[in-house]
């Protein structure tokens, strides 16, 4: 019985150390680069579209442009492209390390990310007409998701999460207490903050975490 207790204790120690030592980078530097660039392109495209070409043409034709649909369409494309890129880079990394694609680290990351991302999804369904609420909610939920991986991710990821969370909360308060005369102003600002956060933040993250080559001497 004493040996059994000792064996159980040893297995408990092993399990605890394994969990503590698991490091999983949910966002790689290349993924952040792809996502950042896609976000910047999308944001600039929407901005030009609304400010110049499409809006004026549509209004001239007597058609009210559906900016909500345009906003959703473009940013969902960014999400799709970034998701594909992330899947590819994770798969490639797993093949190079000869590890399973769905690793224990990935399972932990998905479990941590699921509640905040599900919350963001539900808010999207409820508030899809109100970009002044939706854009900050997306930032807040994404930030909370990254922070939730803090126990097993490199410190850069929760830091990125905090940047999204603080910016999202600040924008939420700004939208709440600022008087907007035109809907276009709200929509443009929502697009700008999406571009600044999902674009610039990810590019900065990619620049800070890009792998550097080292030269071993033995």
């Amino acid at each position: 019985m004493n040996l059994r207790t000792e064996a159980e204790e040893n297995l408990r120690v092993i399990r605890s150390l394994m969990e503590k030592s698991t490091i999983y980078r949910a966002i790689s530097a290349p993924t952040a680069l792809v996502g950042g660039l896609a976000s910047i392109i999308a944001g600039v495209m929407i901005h030009c579209w609304w400010c110049m070409g499409e809006c004026s043409i549509s209004i001239a034709q007597g058609v009210t442009p559906n900016r909500i649909q345009q906003f959703f369409g473009v940013w969902l494309c960014v999400l799709f492209i970034t998701g594909i890129a992330n899947t590819y880079f994770i798969w490639r990394g797993a093949v190079l390390r000869k590890e399973p694609f769905i690793s224990a680290g990935m399972k932990m990351a998905l479990l941590a990310l699921f509640p905040p991302l599900m919350t963001g999804g539900i808010f999207t369904l409820i508030c899809h007409e109100v970009l002044s609420i939706l854009a900050p909610i997306w930032m807040i939920c994404y930030g909370l998701g990254l922070i939730a991986t803090r126990h097993f991710s490199p410190s850069s990821i929760p830091r990125l999460g905090w940047a999204f969370l603080i910016t999202g909360l600040s924008c939420f308060l700004y939208f709440k207490f600022t008087r907007w005369d035109l809907a276009i102003e709200v929509h443009l600002f929502a697009n700008i903050i999406m571009t600044a956060t999902f674009g610039l933040f990810h590019l900065i993250y990619a620049a800070c975490t890009w792998p550097r080559k080292t030269s071993p001497t033995s």
Partner: protein, 98 residues
Amino acid sequence: MFDFDKLDKTIHERARLGIMTLLASRQSWPFQDLKSELGMSDGNLVTHLRTLHDAGFVAVTKEMLDRPQTSYSLTEKGRIAFQEYLAVLEQIINTGKH
């Protein structure tokens, strides 16, 4: 009745078990990270690493990055020994259930 000789005595020591566990979780560990994770002194950690190295369970790599860095990893022999040790622990627990 369980045969105690099945337990690898090199691994079956709290500090070395911790070292083997961490080395099994990642490709390699720098010395300072091992020390930080296990909360051991330099001398204590070096002694246990030397024991594991002499047994052929651990490989050492010395690199010159921005400063000299020593990293440790499990050898194939060490990985097999650790897996066998885990199997023995499982066997002990299952034996105790009957």
